[in-house]
């Protein structure tokens, strides 16, 4: 299973400046493990104590993974994974 992962500016120093990288895995945890293999330290920025970092949001095809099984979210070939820091957004 190959997916495309979009990396936010703040984490790009870890991906040699790449905005988008590809990764393999049938679940989100497998993809994060694969990212960690290729870009040492990246996995630790996304996952803390076995759970998604409080200020990191990850989306698969624009849907927040916290509502689709979290780290166990199933992935299909060609899925788009987006990593974003949590910010105070919205029409406030």
């Amino acid at each position: 299973m190959s997916v495309s992962v979009s990396v936010p500016t703040i984490l790009r120093p870890m991906t040699k400046g790449e905005k988008s990288v590809s990764a393999d895995g049938a679940t989100l945890s497998e993809v994060i493990a694969d990212l960690e293999n290729n870009y040492a330290g990246l996995g630790g920025r996304l996952v803390k104590d076995g759970a998604l970092h409080r200020f990191v949001n990850i989306y698969v095809n624009d849907e927040d993974v916290r509502f689709t099984g979290g780290l166990d979210t199933q992935l299909k070939d060609g899925d788009q994974v987006t990593i974003l820091p949590a910010v105070a957004g919205g029409r406030f």
Binding site: D64, F67, T82, F92
Partner: protein, 317 residues
């Protein structure tokens, strides 16, 4: 009711209209709650009035007080109206990259604006307002991100109005900013309709807005409770703009860009239900009208791609 004793009494009671042309089938129906019909033209009149009224009731707000709030626009405009009517001075802390119309409107209502750096996004506005409030203990920060009266305005207002107008409601789709709308409406509807689906549409901005120095500077509103939601979608500016234009073209509703993001999520849900052969009544919020976004050129652009250019680097929702 069409007669009110003052403008603030005219907040809420907004119409719910069907969208027969955008609904995918006769069994899967979309409904828009027109929050632009509130006195200052946005859904934020509800929490602004509720937060001020509660602060008056518990004695934090007294005649002559100064109110300070981090806001990129709509809440500020609503607070400015309420403060003008009730005689308070208002200071808004907002990122410098918000639309010109919002600043002009705030000044028109007599509010004072303090700009926070664009690079810090809304996080910087929140941090700056907190510092200013700490330096001026006599100022009152209502703090919409953590003020339970924000969500309560929707729990006692928006939610019950929706259920009265649409008892068969199956899905509610709202925008995720302070999270007040979704928390308040979501909690109320879940109590009344155990199978209801509460769906969040979260705006995804350009990279500038996410330019934090480190991840621990990230921010989740204190009001946010994940368990109220069924699902949460991230909607980028291209989809938001396309849907905003579609809503105007197909149904004649002139809405702001954040409504386009919400409609995008609502149409995604509607398409899923229709594909599975189900039926649904999906209500969503029209947060404000398009007036404050005219200068972005989004409505008059020849095509969707051109329209998106006008939003580059802006906090569009």
């Amino acid at each position: 009711m069409t007669r009110y004793s003052s403008l603030v009494d005219a907040v809420g009671g907004t119409p719910l209209v069907g969208l027969p042309r955008l609904s995918p089938s006769a069994d899967v129906r979309l409904w828009a709650k027109l929050e632009d019909r509130n006195p200052t033209g946005s859904i934020k009149d509800r929490p602004a009035l509720a937060m001020v009224a509660a602060a008056e009731a518990d004695g934090r707000l007294r005649p002559g007080c100064t109110v300070i709030e981090p806001t990129s626009g709509n809440t500020g405009i609503s607070l400015a109206m309420v403060c003008r009517v009730k005689g308070y001075r208002l200071i808004c802390v907002m990122p410098e990259n918000t639309s010109q119309e919002r600043k002009l409107l705030l000044r028109a209502y007599g509010a004072q604006i303090i700009s926070s750096p664009a690079a810090g996004g809304s996080n910087a506005a929140v941090a700056m307002a907190k510092e200013l409030a700490a330096d001026h203990p006599d100022w009152v920060m209502l703090y919409q991100y953590g003020n339970p009266d924000n969500a309560l305005a929707h729990y006692t207002g928006t939610g019950p109005e929706l259920l009265v107008d649409l008892p068969e409601l199956t899905h509610f789709v709202g925008g995720l900013g302070t999270t007040g709308t979704l928390m308040g409406v979501g909690r109320y509807l879940r109590e009344q309709l155990p199978d209801v689906q509460i769906v969040a549409a979260e705006p995804r901005y350009g990279e500038l807005v996410y330019g934090l120095r480190n991840l621990d500077e990230g921010f989740v509103p204190e009001l946010y409770d994940e368990s109220v939601l069924t699902s949460r979608f991230s909607v980028g500016p291209d989809d938001a703009v396309r849907r905003t234009r579609e809503l105007l073209e197909v149904e004649g509703i002139f809405a702001g860009i954040s409504t386009g993001a919400i409609l995008h999520a609502a149409l995604g849900i509607a398409a899923r239900v229709a594909r599975d052969g189900g039926s649904a009544d999906i209500a969503f919020v029209v947060c404000d009208g398009g007036w404050k976004y005219l200068s972005t050129g989004v409505y008059e652009a020849g095509d969707d791609a051109q329209a998106s250019v006008g939003l580059e680097g802006q906090l569009w929702a």
